[in-house]
C-alpha cells in the first residue's frame, strides 16, 4: 500500500525540484518547464487527497490545475516567442528594463 507519508515526501520533493529549477535556470523556457513540475507536484497532492477522503473534490482541483497549466503555457510560450523575436535570447536577466 502507498502510505500518506511517502506521497507527501514525493510531492514535496517534486515541488522542491521545481523550485530549484526556477531558481537556477536563466532560460525562460526552462523556468516555464520548472513551473510545470511544481504544478504537477501540487496536482499529485490534490489527487492523493481525493483518494484519502474518497471524494472527487481533489480531482476537480486537479482539473482546474490542468486548465491553469494549459493557459499558463499558452501565454508563457507566447511571451517566450515574443522575447526571442525582440532580443534573440531567452535570458531573463536581460528583461529588467521594466523594473517590474
Amino acid at each position: 500500500m502507498i502510505t500518506e507519508g511517502s506521497l507527501f515526501f514525493f510531492s514535496i520533493a517534486l515541488f522542491c525540484i521545481g523550485v530549484f529549477g526556477v531558481l537556477v535556470r536563466r532560460n525562460l523556457l526552462f523556468i516555464l518547464i520548472s513551473i510545470e513540475i511544481m504544478l504537477n507536484a501540487v496536482a499529485v497532492l490534490f489527487v492523493a487527497a481525493s483518494s484519502i477522503h474518497n471524494n472527487s473534490d481533489g480531482q476537480i482541483m486537479y482539473l482546474l490545475i490542468l486548465t491553469l497549466a494549459a493557459s499558463e503555457v499558452a501565454v508563457g510560450l507566447g511571451l517566450v516567442i515574443q522575447m526571442y523575436r525582440r532580443s534573440k535570447t531567452l535570458d531573463v536577466d536581460q528583461l529588467s528594463s521594466m523594473k517590474g
Binding site: 523550485v19 526556477v22 531558481l23 531573463v92 536577466d93 528583461l95 529588467s96 521594466m98 523594473k99 517590474g100
Partner: protein, 621 residues
C-alpha cells in the same frame, strides 16, 4: 441754542475736510483731472468752512458740554460704541486751533507747494489729516478717538514720505509710524483693560465709573501699581508715542523729511499735541492715580531737558525746531503731571501759534534759500528777507517766552503751578529748560540773520505765504489769553491760585532774558569765541547732536536683534520638520526601490527565501 443746528454744525467740522480729501483722492483714481486752482479751492475751502463752523460753535455753545450721537458703530453684547462727538471747552479749543492753524497752513501751502507736481495728492493728505485730527479731538469714546489717532498717524506717515522718490524720506516715515504704533498698541491694551474693568469705552463714563470703582488711593500707597495706574500708564504709552516724548521721541526729528508746512501743522501744532489732549481729556482718570501723574511729570521733565539740550547743537533749522517741539511738549506733560491741565492746554495753544509761525517762516526761508537747511551756511539775511526776519523774531521771542509774548503767559502759568504743587525739582528742570530754550532759539535767530552773508536768497516769499505768516505772527504775540472755558473746566475747588513772591516771579522772567543776552554776545558779537575745541566737548557735542544717541541705542537693542532673528528664520524653521518627513520617505523609497530591480530571478529567490524564513520562524516558535 438749537440742538439740531449745533449737532449738524459739529458734524460738519470733521466731515468737510473729509469730503475734500475724498474728492481729491478719488478723482485721479477715476482719471479725472482737476486744475490746480480748483484743488486749492476744494482743499482750502473745506478747511475754511470747517473753521467758520468752529467759530460759530464757539459763539453758539453756551453749555459746559454737548454730546450728540450720530449712530451706532459697533454693538456686540454689552460693548456699545457709537459715533458720538463730545464738545466742551477742551475740544472747542482744540478744534479752533486745528481748523484755524490748519486753514492758515493750507493757505500757506498753496504758495509753498506751487511748483510741486503732486500738488493734489498733498492737499488730499492734508485734508484727510485735518479730518482725522478733528475726529480725534471730538470723539466721545476711546475707539473713535483711536480712529482719529491712527488716522493722523497714517497721514503723518504719508506726508513725511511725501517726496517718496527718496528712500531716506520713506525710512523716516516708517520710523514715525512704527514708533507711534508701539505707543498706540499700549494705548489699545489700555482700552481693553478699561473696557474689561469698567465695561464701557465712553470717555465720560469711564471717568465717572472709575472714580466710583477706584477711589483716590491713600497717599502712603501711591506707588502701588493698582489697576487705575496701569490703565493710566498704558494710555500714557499712547500719548508718549504720539507726542514724541521719552522714550519714543526719536522719530520726530527724522519726521522733518516731509514738506515744511506739514512739519508746521502735524509735527508742531496739532498731531504731536494729541498726547497732551488725551491726558487732558482723561484727566479724571489720571487724577485718581498719583503715581501715573508722577510718571507723566517725570516723562515731561526728562524729555524737555534732553530735547532742549539736543536742540542746542543742531545745525539743521528744522531739526532745531523739531527738538524744540519735543521740549515744549515736555513742558505740557510736566504741566499735566502737576495737575495743571488748563495750563498745559493753554501752552499747547500758544505753542501751536508760535511753533507754526516758526516752521512756516523756516519754510519760507528754505524756499528762498534753494532748499538749504543748514543754519551755518546762512547768515546776514536780516536785511535781505525782512518778512522772514520779523516772523522769526516774533517766533523766537515767543518760544523763549520773553515777557508779554504769548509763550510767556503759558510758560509762567506752568512754572507757577509747579511751585504750587511743591514740585521744586521739576521747577528747577523747567527753569533750566527755559534758559536753554531761550539760548538756542536766539542762537538760531542770530546765526541765520546776522554775521556775514554766505548765500544769497533767490526769491521773496509770495503774498499767499505772507498772509498766514502775519496772522500767525499776530497770534504769537497776542494769543496769550487763556480761554475762560478751560479754566472753568479744569478748576477744582482746592487748587486756588497761590501767589508767589516777587523775587521768584522776577527770577523766572529774567532767566530767558539772560539767556537771550548771553546768546547775543555769543553768536552775534562772538565774545566768547568758538566753543572751545577739546575732545571731551566734541564727544558731548556729537552725543547731543544725535539726540542723546537714542537712535544708536534702539538700533543695537531692538532693530539689529530683530532683523537678525528674522533673517535667521527666513526659510521657516518649522518647514524643516516637514522637510525631514519628505527626506525620510525619500530615503525609504530609495532603499525599497532597490528591491524592485526587475530581475525575475531575484524576485523568485526572495520569494523562496522569505517563505523559508517565515517557515523557520513558524517552526522555531
Amino acid at each position: 441754542m438749537d440742538i439740531q443746528y449745533i449737532s449738524n454744525l459739529l458734524l460738519a467740522v470733521p466731515l468737510l475736510p473729509l469730503f475734500g480729501a475724498t474728492v481729491l483722492i478719488l478723482a485721479p483714481l477715476f482719471s479725472i483731472q482737476i486744475p490746480k486752482l480748483i484743488v486749492s479751492v476744494i482743499a482750502v475751502g473745506s478747511i475754511s468752512l470747517a473753521a467758520i463752523c468752529s467759530i460759530l460753535l464757539n459763539i453758539e455753545l453756551n453749555e459746559p458740554s454737548f454730546n450728540p450721537v450720530y449712530g451706532n458703530w459697533i454693538q456686540v453684547d454689552e460693548l456699545t460704541i457709537s459715533f458720538g462727538l463730545y464738545l466742551d471747552a477742551l475740544s472747542l479749543v482744540m478744534i479752533s486751533i486745528i481748523t484755524g492753524v490748519g486753514f492758515l497752513i493750507h493757505l500757506y501751502s498753496i504758495g509753498f507747494m506751487d511748483k510741486d507736481k503732486d500738488f493734489q495728492r498733498y492737499f488730499a493728505y492734508l485734508n484727510l489729516f485735518v479730518a482725522a485730527m478733528l475726529i480725534l479731538v471730538l470723539a466721545d469714546n476711546l475707539l473713535l478717538l483711536f480712529l482719529g489717532w491712527e488716522g493722523v498717524g497714517l497721514c503723518s506717515y504719508l506726508l513725511i514720505g511725501f517726496w517718496h522718490e527718496e528712500t531716506k524720506n520713506n525710512l523716516a516715515a516708517n520710523k514715525a509710524f512704527i514708533m507711534t504704533r508701539i505707543g498706540d498698541t499700549g494705548m489699545a491694551i489700555g482700552m481693553f483693560l478699561l473696557f474689561f474693568q469698567l465695561g464701557t469705552l465712553n470717555i465720560q463714563q469711564i471717568q465717572t465709573s472709575a472714580a466710583e470703582l477706584w477711589p483716590l488711593v491713600d497717599v502712603n500707597q501711591k506707588y502701588n501699581l493698582d489697576m487705575v495706574t496701569i490703565c493710566c500708564l498704558l494710555l500714557l504709552a499712547g500719548a508718549v508715542g504720539k507726542s514724541g516724548q521719552l522714550p519714543l521721541q526719536s522719530w520726530l526729528p527724522d519726521a522733518m523729511a516731509g514738506p515744511t508746512p506739514v512739519s508746521a501743522l502735524i509735527h508742531a501744532a496739532t498731531m504731536v499735541t494729541a498726547g497732551v489732549y488725551l491726558i487732558a481729556r482723561c484727566h479724571g482718570l489720571f487724577e485718581l492715580s498719583p503715581f501715573a501723574m508722577q510718571c507723566v511729570a517725570a516723562v515731561g521733565a526728562i524729555t524737555l531737558f534732553i530735547a532742549a539740550s539736543a536742540a542746542l547743537v543742531q545745525n539743521d533749522v528744522k531739526r532745531i525746531l523739531a527738538y524744540s517741539t519735543i521740549s515744549q511738549i515736555g513742558y505740557m506733560f510736566l504741566a499735566l503731571g502737576a495737575g495743571a491741565f488748563s495750563a498745559a492746554v493753554f501752552h499747547l495753544m500758544t505753542h501751536a501759534f508760535f511753533k507754526a509761525l516758526l516752521f512756516l517762516s523756516a519754510g519760507a526761508l528754505i524756499y528762498s534759500m534753494h532748499h538749504e537747511h543748514n543754519i551755518f551756511r546762512m547768515g546776514g539775511l536780516a536785511k535781505k528777507l525782512p518778512v522772514v526776519w520779523l516772523c522769526f523774531f516774533i517766533g523766537c521771542a515767543a518760544l523763549a517766552s520773553l515777557p508779554l509774548m504769548s509763550g510767556f503767559w503759558s510758560k509762567e502759568l506752568i512754572l507757577g503751578k509747579l511751585l504750587d504743587q511743591h514740585m521744586y525739582g521739576y521747577w528747577l528742570i523747567a527753569i533750566a529748560g527755559a534758559f536753554i530754550t531761550a539760548f538756542y532759539s536766539f542762537r538760531l535767530f542770530f546765526v541765520i540773520f546776522y554775521g556775514e552773508t554766505k548765500k544769497e536768497p533767490d526769491s521773496q516769499p509770495s503774498r499767499i505765504m505772507v498772509i498766514p505768516l502775519s496772522i500767525l505772527g499776530f497770534l504769537a504775540i497776542f494769543g496769550g489769553i487763556q480761554p475762560q472755558g478751560l479754566i472753568d473746566m479744569f478748576s477744582s475747588p482746592d487748587s486756588g491760585q497761590a501767589s508767589h513772591s516777587i523775587a521768584i516771579v522776577a527770577f523766572t522772567i529774567l532767566v530767558p532774558i539772560c539767556a537771550v543776552v548771553f546768546s547775543f554776545f555769543q553768536f552775534k558779537k562772538g565774545v566768547f569765541g568758538r566753543i572751545i575745541q577739546s575732545s571731551v566737548l566734541n564727544q558731548i557735542h556729537r552725543f547731543l547732536l544725535s539726540g542723546w544717541a537714542f537712535d544708536w541705542f534702539y538700533q543695537k537693542i531692538f532693530i539689529d536683534p530683530f532683523i537678525e532673528l528674522t533673517r535667521m528664520n527666513k526659510s521657516d524653521v518649522i518647514d524643516l520638520f516637514y522637510k525631514t518627513i519628505i527626506g525620510a520617505s525619500r530615503m525609504l523609497h530609495n532603499f525599497l526601490s532597490q528591491f524592485q530591480n526587475g530581475q525575475l530571478r531575484w524576485y523568485s529567490t526572495s520569494l523562496v527565501l522569505f517563505s523559508v524564513i517565515s517557515l523557520t520562524f513558524l517552526l522555531s516558535r
